[in-house]
């Protein structure tokens, strides 16, 4: 039991289960999943479907954070990739053809990849602080998206494009399948190659890694490229869902939700050790919470406060310091007096 509690995913999983249980008690239909024409429907399925863009973005953010970085530009990259894709579809003679949509999606994601290269270049090659480097694109990206769409919200009617967000494959929402595929591919890739451990080494101690001969520059650059590309895919799913490229609303604030998901999942903002499974749980916590707010009918004016209150609660549940205090209160052995001046430097 204590071993289970020490697992780094124990508290994130607890938080998620608590949310689900609260929902189930509040509305027994929450857990109900129905099958219609070989497709699954229900509140849980909606959560999975709607979580896809955040899942993709948070996945990339996990890698970037592991290198001690941060990517604030993901929302803007979503806007750009949506704008590129929908402008191509809108301008084509056959917006309903699968070929057109595939080309458009490839173009949108390709541009997002290049934006990731740009971020990576600023951080890894020019050594600009990540928060500043990606802030540039965060501010400029939406402007670029507006230029691409001529300042309008480009709307399209294209069945193949709609399939991306609303379609089903093997009983499950296609958007969820995309997100899960990305999660599995990246998780396997990081752990089957040495990329994962080298990324952690760079994040924990960049100088020691450099002296050990790790190509830290390439690893950091790669993380931003992955983040940009995944944000690009997220942008397509978002645009597909609203059938429009909205440069201002696409991915609005998603960078902050993604950071929140990563942290809720147990990856430290200090970089180093990261957990993709934790990020997936973090995203599901956020998405379940959003769904709860909608269901409970919290007014839109109050919902941010409600959201924040629950997030604080979740963070407190996971806080190691609070765990220690709780143990002290429940009569467990009090921790020994902390070593005096433990922060003092110990001369060699």
């Amino acid at each position: 039991m204590t071993k289970l509690m020490k697992h780094r995913l124990f508290w994130p999983v607890c938080s998620l289960l608590t949310l689900i249980i609260v929902n189930t008690i509040a509305r027994p239909r929450f857990m109900k999943i129905t099958v219609r024409d070989g497709e699954l429907y229900g509140a849980l399925i909606d959560i999975l479907r709607n979580s896809a863009p955040l899942m993709l973005v948070a996945l990339g953010m996990t890698l970037v954070i592991a290198t001690r970085g941060i990517d604030l530009s993901v929302g803007a990259v979503m806007a750009v990739s949506g704008a590129v894709s929908l402008t191509i579809i809108d301008g084509s003679s056959s917006p309903g053809s699968t070929g057109t949509v595939l080309v458009a999606i490839a173009a949108g994601v390709g541009v997002a990849l290049l934006l990731g290269v740009w971020n990576g270049f600023l951080v890894a090659v020019l050594n600009i602080q990540p928060i500043i480097a990606t802030l540039v694109l965060m501010l400029a990206g939406r402007g670029v998206a507006l230029l691409i769409t001529d300042g309008f919200i480009t709307t399209v009617n294209s069945a193949p494009l709609e399939y991306v967000s609303t379609g089903y494959l093997l009983w499950l929402p296609f958007a969820f399948i995309i997100a899960m595929t990305a999660v599995v591919v990246i998780a396997v890739f990081e752990r089957r190659t040495a990329l994962g451990v080298l990324t952690e080494a760079v994040g924990i101690n960049p100088e020691a890694s450099r002296l050990a001969g790790v190509r830290s520059r390439g690893i950091i650059l790669g993380a931003y490229v992955v983040s940009g590309t995944l944000a690009g895919i997220a942008g397509i799913i978002y645009s597909s869902n609203i059938r429009a490229a909205d440069a201002n609303a696409a991915g609005d604030l998603i960078e902050l939700y993604a950071i929140l998901a990563v942290v809720l999942g147990g990856t430290s903002l200090m970089g180093g050790k990261f957990t993709i499974a934790g990020t997936v749980i973090g995203v599901l916590i956020i998405q379940t919470l959003k769904s709860t707010i909608l269901f409970l009918g919290v007014s839109s004016a109050q919902s941010p406060v409600f959201f924040a209150a629950v997030v604080i609660l979740v963070v407190l549940i996971q806080s190691p310091r609070l765990h220690r205090m709780a143990r002290g209160l429940t009569g467990g052995a009090r921790p020994a007096n902390p070593a005096p001046r433990s922060d003092a430097e110990v001369p060699a």
Partner: protein, 511 residues
């Protein structure tokens, strides 16, 4: 003129003891500072110099002992208390606000006020007066960052004068100054001394210590060795007192190291005139197959700087390097690793181990970095390598899944050595591999180095403990004040001879 011994002490520290978890940083140290003297505190790294200063400036609380300023016993709970008592410190890295003007920095917190708030005109006038008294004519409106480090340091001293400092502590103030700037600083220091300020000076540069000091206090391993008048203490004696003579019987190792190196062959590494402006004067170094070349020199002598340039950790701006007789360009650690050169930094925590990774991951890191991320070590190879080197070096605990940050210093050092040996290097550079680790681990590491060298590995070995250098090395390169001053065959010299050479050889000449 310099205060004589009968002047009553301005600062008197008695029986100062400071304990850190597991370490006795200062053990009953006495220290006396008189008004109107420049007093140097000398000692190798870890001797307790910086701890002593931090006790005096209120950064650390003392566990026992007393501090009296002007005869009045004080208890410093914070740096503010120490400043209140008239003790000011100028650190190596200037602790001023570089984005404010010179005048603002000098007067910060002590600006003259009128009824509209701060009187900036008067403030700058006052600042100019203080600067002028140190012989500094500066535009007080100019940004501090627009001036050299030397001028910034003088500004920091002016600021101390505004605070009415009676005691001025200068911690490595000259480490980034050139000769002219040092002269300028020394003129100011002498002037302050003649006005009755007590000055505590810390520097690794022996020559400067002798140039400026009236008195010298030597610390070693947290204990007081003694207080001496600078003119009565020869350089050789000073170095002996700093380094100490604690011998460990390691006969077998020195026997293993006592062999003739065939220097008719092509050297594994031959560096000619490698240097970097402001860091190291161009220096030569060559290492042959199976040879251990020691580098002897005090901290700051350029020994670390030299090997960092050779490894590409820092970039040399002059000089040529040949590996096995062929010109090699080494501008980054990866280049060096490509030439099968390995480097273990003196700074184990910041530049060596990756603390949150496991013992196994740390050992495999060198190999993995060489292979690149796409060719991960197979599980079986990984297990084999990790197990082999944990055993070969006697890492404790012998658990590949233990997190390295939880190991003792000696075991971390062994992990670091294992990482490099696993990459099968031809030359390994070890910078202070035995610093801060227990006696047993020290002997383990020396034995391993001697053993590997006798099997053909070339080694560059740096240690503050000269016995270790002489025991392991066939030749010793001697450095002082960022300059290579010579090379000795270690069979021709003993520790005293080496100390004498370090302190006196090449005096006044420019290599």
């Amino acid at each position: 003129m310099p205060a004589d011994i009968d002047t009553p002490p301005l600062v008197s520290m008695r029986g100062i003891t400071i304990r850190f978890p597991g370490v006795l940083a200062l053990d009953g140290v006495d220290f006396v500072l008189r008004a109107g003297e420049v007093h140097s505190v000398m000692g190798e790294n870890g001797a307790g110099k910086s701890t002593l200063i931090k006790a005096l400036t209120g950064v650390y609380a003392v566990d026992s002992g007393t501090i009296a300023v002007a005869g009045e016993e004080r208890l410093f709970g914070s740096t503010a208390d120490a400043q209140q008592a008239g003790i000011s410190t100028v650190y190596q890295e200037v602790n001023l606000c570089t984005n404010l003007s010179v005048g603002e920095n000098v007067m910060l917190g002590h600006e003259p006020r009128n009824r509209w708030g701060i009187d900036w005109k008067a403030s700058h006038r006052e600042a100019a007066r203080h600067l002028d008294s140190l012989g500094l004519q500066l535009d007080t409106h100019s940004l501090l960052s627009s001036h050299s480090i030397a001028v910034q340091q003088l500004v920091a001293i002016s600021r101390a004068m505004v605070l009415d400092a009676r005691v001025l502590i200068l911690d490595e103030p000259t480490s980034s100054l050139d000769r002219d700037e040092v002269d300028r600083l020394f003129t100011v220091i002498r002037d302050l001394r003649d006005h009755g300020v007590a000055i505590l000076f810390v520097s690794h540069f022996l020559e400067q210590v002798y140039e400026i000091s009236d008195r010298i206090t030597v610390l070693r391993n947290g204990r007081l060795v003694g207080e001496y008048a600078a003119k009565d203490l020869s350089r050789g004696d000073l170095v002996t007192k700093m380094v100490g003579r604690e011998l460990v019987e390691l006969e077998a190792i020195s026997e293993m190291a006592e062999r003739t190196i065939d220097r008719a062959t092509t050297p594994v590494l031959k560096a000619t005139g490698v240097g970097r402006r402001g860091v190291l004067e161009p220096a030569d170094l060559d290492v042959y197959d199976g040879e251990v070349v020691g580098i002897a020199g005090l901290l700051g002598s350029g020994r670390t700087e030299l090997v960092r340039l050779l490894y590409g950790a820092d970039r040399a701006d002059v000089g040529e390097v040949e590996v096995h007789g062929e010109t090699a360009r080494i501008a980054s650690p990866r280049h060096a690793i490509g030439h099968r050169i390995a480097f273990s930094s003196e700074n184990r925590h910041a530049e060596g181990v990756v603390a949150d990774l496991t013992v196994g991951e740390n050992i495999a890191l060198g190999i993995q970095a060489r292979r690149g991320w796409h060719r991960k070590l197979r599980r079986a190879e990984y297990d084999a390598v990790v197990t082999e080197y944990i055993q070969a070096l006697g890492v404790r605990p012998a658990d590949p899944n233990a997190v390295v940050g939880t190991l003792s210093g000696g075991n971390q050092q062994k992990v670091l050595l294992a990482r490099w040996l696993a990459t099968a290097p031809e030359l390994i550079i070890l910078d202070e591999p035995t610093r801060g680790i227990d006696v047993g681990a020290k002997a383990d590491i020396q034995r391993k180095v001697a053993e590997l060298a006798s099997q053909g590995l070339s080694v560059i070995f740096i240690s503050s403990e000269l016995e270790e250098v002489l025991r392991l090395a066939q030749r010793v390169v001697v450095m002082r004040d960022r300059r290579r001053i010579g090379v000795l065959e270690s069979r021709d010299v003993d520790v005293d001879g080496l100390i004498d050479y370090m302190a006196n050889e090449g005096e006044g000449s420019v290599a």
